[in-house]
């Protein structure tokens, strides 16, 4: 993509006004989103839609159909298969040996976007011969990206870059072994889709829905203020089985003392933790 494509930044007052409208009318609370990136997304929408700030407010109030589109643009849905290959390496060497001792392995991939991480984990568990007893839940607040995720079809351009990541993971073969190639796209093998389920879930307002052996929520916290991060960490803590694993993005360092008491560091660099205490 060329250029940052942003216009003059939105002021703090305008931002609060908009957050208020979205909260009152659409029930989505963006007040604890990290401000700089949220503003950047707003400027981007205004530019793409050729809207002034006033028009954006107007359309959010008066055009009910616009909100879904707004939600998709405001949240960052950029994701990759096997993003940070070293993370997947660490999973295989430090987490999988323990996961494999469970009768059932339930994994929650929170903020899964178009499903790339869910399928990366599905491939990894399959290679470890664990797919029969595994189930991966992918959740996101966007229905649009979840539909993409359910299809499991990605453009060849994307697959090419994902395949490069795959090579660095040390997994056998190549990424395309797990896909059926079409003309300009590739579809993930259906057996890898079998034990996955995608559904809408809002980390800010919804509660837990199961008990998991592992929760992966990578590069979602970067969009949240610290207080909100702690609230969601609490939700994750309650949703994990004893000694369950939590994986965050590798730059999402948690600086809270209370957190350190509840989770043991398994891999500092890749931000992999294990629930301790009860």
């Amino acid at each position: 993509m060329k250029g940052t494509g942003t216009k003059d930044a939105i002021t703090g007052t305008e931002l609060n006004e908009l957050i208020d409208i979205v909260k009152k009318i659409h029930g989505f609370d963006f007040s604890d989103y990290t401000e700089a990136s949220f503003k950047r997304r707003l400027s981007r929408i205004m530019m793409l839609k050729k809207l002034e700030f006033y028009d954006l407010k107007h359309i959010l109030v008066n055009d009910p159909g616009f909100f879904q589109e707004f939600l998709e643009e405001i949240t960052v849905n950029v994701t990759e298969m096997f993003r940070d290959p070293a993370f997947y390496k660490a999973l295989r060497s430090q987490v999988v040996p323990y996961l494999s001792t469970y009768q059932h392995i339930k994994v929650w991939c929170a903020g899964c976007s178009s499903g790339e991480e869910v399928y990366s984990l599905a491939i990894l568990l399959n290679e470890e011969k664990l797919s029969k007893k595994s189930f991966i839940y992918g959740t996101d607040i966007n229905t649009g990206v979840l539909n993409e995720a359910r299809k499991g079809i990605y453009s060849l351009r994307k697959i090419k870059s994902y395949a490069e990541n795959y090579l660095f993971t040390g997994l056998p073969g190549s990424l395309t072994d797990h896909f059926t190639m079409m003309y300009d796209a590739a579809a993930i093998h259906s057996e890898l889709k079998q034990n996955t389920l995608f559904s809408v879930h809002n980390l800010i307002s919804d509660t837990g829905f199961n008990e998991f052996q592992m929760i992966s929520c990578r590069n979602v916290f970067i969009y949240f203020e610290t207080e909100l991060q702690y609230k969601i960490l609490d939700l994750f803590y309650r949703s994990l089985c004893p000694l369950g694993y939590l994986c965050l993005g590798n730059k999402e360092t948690i600086r809270s003392e209370a957190f350190r008491k509840k989770f043991k560091v398994i891999n500092q660099k890749e931000n992999i933790y294990q629930k301790i205490g009860s």
């Binding site: 060329k2 990136s37 950029v78």
Partner: protein, 195 residues
Amino acid sequence: MALDDEIKKRWAQSRILLLGGSAGAFKLLFRLVKILPVNLNKTVIIVIHRKKNFFSEIEKLFAENSRMLLQEISDKEPIKGNTIYIAPANYHTLVENEGFFSLDVSDAVWYSKPSIDVTFESVAEVYKGQVTAVLFSGANQDGAEGLLKLRQKGALTIAQYPGDAEMAEMPQAAIDMHAAEYILRTTEIFELLEL
């Protein structure tokens, strides 16, 4: 050519030193990191284009040779003085009003993540005239727009003289956009920042 008093004064008053570069900038930034004094009393933020999955160990190499404290930025990292921060690969780095960094994984800008434009624009919004920014060698025009935003907000903006740059396109783009208040030879940039 001697540097004028005005530029020296503005550099001395800056709280933030922003350094951006791509192809051909690595060696220069490495040399700069080596000479910046431990009592600089400023925050240094470096955005250099880098590939994901390519563990060049830039931070390690820089940290070992830096007199100032040097670290790679992680999410919600507080922005402290007398510290050199390096933008991590595969994220955009932004700054928040409350004095900390935040990261973003949205689309690459000018095929780059980290993008120099994104960080420069964000720093311009928060720190305005308290910034000295230098754009070095690079093979695309990322950074030019960001440098312009900084200049509009009153920051001291400098482009490396394209004739001195290994890759002229990046500083040239900034100059064409009138984003650079000063165009300095490499030696002049070093002379200024060593003050």
